[in-house]
Subunit: 144 residues, 2 copies
DNA sequence: TTGAAAATATTGAATATTCAACAATTGAAG
DNA sequence: CTTCAATTGTTGAATATTCAATATTTTCAA
């Protein structure tokens, strides 16, 4: 039974927030070399399968609310990293695609992100990392 | 060696963000019963040791930037949940204290938070939870 | 002791996010 | 068929966060 007088540092919600904050900050720092926020990297990465993704689908995948995504996509369209196309099968939907410029940028970003993963592997260990990933996946699955 | 063409769902940074988002959303939902954002619960919890905590110390502990904390504290002072006192030993510092009203609210929030932890324990399992906490603590430690 | 640098907290302007309302399209029941 | 509810995406206003600049106090070297 969890104790209500336990320090906040023992709460799973807090540990997740703290770890996320730290890792995200590191990633942000690397991606800032290309002047790109983490969310834009996620968007490019998801779209880099070349398929069209609807806004709703994309919002889920990149962990953003719909209006926030819409506005971020507006910027990325201005930067010609992605483009919109109406879904011919369901005209309510907008399908997002990555541009050639987006693909080039995505490659650079991927390698910066991989740098970070490797840095984590070094300091945190191979075994711990894969075990942590496994547990996080299970937690996410069990939360639906 | 991490692969740069791996899907985003295999990146530790993404899994952490996703898990954090989900768990935080659940907690947010419970705390909304008292109309309090998660960050305010953290603040109350940290201050509930009765000691005075400087703004910088508090910002670290509750995972907020300084200006964001200042403005949130302004609101909480208006709500008489906490109060400011100048540190007599270092007059640059402001020491934050929890009020009686804050303590009462904090108790209610604690029990809502414990509800959530117990819900996680049920669906995710005792063993996985403590193992995950351990790994997260190690990750945080290894990131400094 | 003095004066420059560091530490601490706050402020205001710029930026980003969220909430609620809206418009357009589709689905589905009668 | 027709109409009404549900789905999808965007917009504008309200709110929150962040960045850079500021004010105050302390520290420390000369």
């Amino acid at each position: 039974m969890a104790k209500s007088n336990a320090p906040i540092t023992e709460h799973l919600a807090y540990l997740l927030a703290q770890a996320n904050r730290e890792i995200n900050r590191q990633l942000e720092l690397r991606l800032s070399k290309e002047g790109v926020p983490v969310e834009q990297w996620r968007i490019l990465k998801v779209l880099s399968d070349g398929d069209g993704h609807s806004m709703g689908e994309l919002a889920d995948a990149v962990l953003l609310n719909h209006p926030t995504l819409t506005k971020m996509i507006d910027r990325m369209v201005s930067d010609t990293l992605v483009y919109r196309l109406q879904d011919p099968n369901d005209r309510r939907k907008v399908l997002m695609f990555i541009s050639d410029r987006g693909k080039v940028l995505c490659k650079k970003l991927n390698s910066l992100a991989v740098d970070q993963e490797e840095h984590i592997l070094e300091s945190y260990g191979d075994k711990s990392t894969s075990e942590l990933k496994r547990l996080l996946e299970n937690l996410i699955d069990s939360s639906n």
